[in-house]
């Protein structure tokens, strides 16, 4: 009976980051192997070491709007980013670009992100603004909500334009939220009650932390929303001394 009542053992860390590479070391390697000068420059500034406390990390929240969800076929149409730390989000460094996907927009996606044919027609190709984007990300830990989108779309976009892809460390607020939800449903009592993990969509996750509802599907606003969500998650689930290696991927 005693053993039944004892709390479920918890692993200290919410996320399993055992397969995360040693990013500073990997950057040093990539700097040598990258062929494009822009990528070489990007890898020149390594991210913080894995044992750096989250309170000292420079983050940058990144969000893309895309023509669809398949990185093999679809393209980026807008990019929003906001630099921040565990303490403060700096609107001053915010940036937003619309880029030309070089392919027709389908109607459903236009409805979602509100970016129209005429908006993208006059927009530059991603390659034109790539330097600015990479400069804003350099040396920082990228924060996204659902890492597959930003990582894969960025990688594919560069592969098709430069002939080589890109790698960078990310913190995924969706993964953190999913882990938090899973943990909240652990334990025999919760299983008995049939407790189900809550939604981990950006808006729903923010609600749980008392964060306000924002107009979704604007890359800059979503980046801000993601930055705020990570601040909230850090405030609730992590100490300021937590090493970044516990949450990066």
């Amino acid at each position: 009976m005693i053993s039944l009542l004892r709390a479920e053992p918890r692993s200290d860390s919410l996320l399993d980051t055992s397969s995360t590479p040693d990013w500073p070391a990997l950057f040093a390697e990539l700097k040598q192997t990258a062929k494009d000068s822009r990528l070489q420059r990007f890898y020149q500034t390594p991210p913080a070491a894995g044992n750096t406390p989250v309170s000292q990390i420079e983050f940058v929240a990144l969000d893309f709007e895309t023509t669809g969800l398949n990185p093999e076929k679809d393209e980026i149409i807008s990019i929003g980013l906001v630099p921040f730390s565990q303490q403060r989000i700096h609107c001053r460094g915010s940036a937003h670009w619309i880029v030309n996907p070089k392919r027709p927009l389908n109607e459903e996606s236009v409805v979602i992100h509100g970016i129209t044919h005429s908006d993208v027609e006059e927009a530059p190709d991603l390659l034109v603004i790539l330097d600015q984007v990479l400069a804003a990300l350099a040396g920082k830990i990228v924060v996204v909500h659902y890492k597959q989108i930003e990582r894969q779309f960025m990688d594919k976009a560069l592969q098709s334009r430069l002939g080589e892809g890109i790698l960078f460390p990310v913190v995924d607020t969706l993964d953190i939220e999913a882990a938090v939800q899973r943990r909240a449903c652990q334990g025999w009592l919760n299983r008995l009650k049939g407790k189900k993990p809550g939604s981990v969509r950006l808006g729903r996750a923010r609600e749980r932390y008392g964060l306000p509802a924002y107009q979704p599907h604007h890359a800059l606003t979503d980046a801000l929303a993601t930055a705020e969500l990570l601040q909230a998650q850090l405030a609730w689930h992590y100490s300021p001394d937590t090493p970044i290696s516990e949450i990066w991927q």
């Binding site: 989000i89 700096h90 964060l211 801000l224």
Partner: protein, 629 residues
Amino acid sequence: MEAEQLEVLNFISQYAPFDELPEEKLKEIALNTEVAYYRADSMILNNGDIIKDLYMIRSGVVEVYLRKGDKGELYNRLDTGAVFGQKGLLMNNKVRMPAKAIEDTLVYCIPDPLFKTLCDEFDHFADFMEWQDGTQLRNAISTRAEGNDLTTVKARKLLTREPVSLPPDASIQTAANLMAEENVTSVIVVRNPEDIEDEDTDILLGILTDRDLCIRVLANGIDTQTPVSEVMSADVVSLDYNAYVFEAMMMMLRYNLHHLPILKDKKPVGVIGMTDIVRYESQNSLLLVNSIYTCHTKEELASLSHQVKDCFVRMVDEDANAHMVGTAMSVIGRSFKQRLAELAEEELGAAPVPYCLVAMGSMARDEQLIVTDQDNALILDDSYDEALHGDYFKRFADFVCDGLNACGYAYCSGDIMCSNPKWRMTRAQWEACFAQWIDAPNPETLLNSSIFFDIDGVYGRLKWAEQLRGFVVRRARRNNRFLACMAHNAINRTPPLGFFKDFVMEKDGRHRNSINLKRRGTAPLADLVRVHALAVGSTARNSFERLDDIIAAGILPKGRAQDLRDAMELIYTVRIRHQALDIEQGEEPDNSVEPENMSDFERRNLKAAFQILSNAQSFIKFRYQRSHS
């Protein structure tokens, strides 16, 4: 590559004082804002910390304390759109009031240099940030008052020239010549300077109009060399130069006058003619008062009562201020009472002894609004004999009180009405009664004092009411114990702490979803003002006028009386507006408001007004202490 955060920009621009800033400034703010998240129960600002930003709550709830940490006294509870930290920024960038998130809170931080620039460039922004001393409230009120000339213009503004005057011994011929020369339709007759003994001597003796020349002089064949004093109208109805145009209109209607002399400290400063007024005539309250006097039965009067509400709503729509609405509603209420008294006399015959029908409470203070019951009493001549005259005044009182009830002025729940034999007394009995209340107060008489000491004659020997008021002021003023008791009584009803989301915060941390603005706002304010007014010997009836006397007497710290005036104006304004809204929506108006029905303006300023009331209540405790000697 800089990009504005649209969410930040849109949010900031919705809330004061940012909502009045130009687009360019708002963009600059949005661009420089920093965002920070605080989980529930975490400190945002600690006492003595360096503060580098103005904080604005994007979402969540923050408590601000007067002293250290969360053990300090709760000063305010703030939610979405509110700012904090301004005091620290204005005082050497040290945190003066610690702040704590009591729900998960997202704040926007506006950097100090930008905050200081905004204060320098925009007066309204700087004023807003200094709201703790009442500046913000005053601004809000004066901004509102600017737009509505019509209802706030004082009668003296209509005066275009010095009065044309004559001594009493001047001949009628001289008067006629003077009127022709000066192109006026009336002359006033004033006492010769050598006959003026002291400042209490009436200077204005009478008025002579072109109509008088026709009817009294020509029609009667009177010699034009006769002194004007023999044909002028003595007992002139006049008005103080501080009165509003509106009051002038009411008076001229009531007495069917075409010329109204305006006095400043007994000295005539001009005459207002009906034509001067016509330009300003727009309120149907004038017509209503006129209709009241043409009614011949109680039933006719009762059928007019629904027009009181229309009139009220119309005044609110015309942006009348609180003093104006209060005066108009009181004048209308008085007119009903006067007409009922006249009708009672028609039905019952003339009164066997002289009397004065008096109004008390809000009507006597000219602060009546739409939801009100009747508070009245009768002062009877000392020759009154219960056995002989008792029956007449009982029937008279019932006639008036029943009539008022039929006209929408509900019976007083405390039975403070002249239909209650207890409140029909002779002049000597009233004085003895008031003397006892002042000399030996008990909880019941203190409550009575706060009602009966606001007394105003409505019909009959109006002077008696004034004399009784003078008696109270003289007696109460030198009685410290009584003042201390009244002060104690005045702080029984406290204002709520403020508004918070959709409910009202009580001092003890509980909440309600509506607040009675009369019981928790205007009534305690009037109580407070009455105590100070008694202490300085003011005979004014209206709270705003009492405050003028209190300011003149200088018994309050500088600026406090002005703050009280602003707080009173604001609370009345909100009360009035919400009653008008109720009426327009076809609901029964009351004195309660629900925070969710308040505008951002009202919520913010009511908070400030309640704070002022609360401070004033703390002050009055110390100002009037019972002497134990």
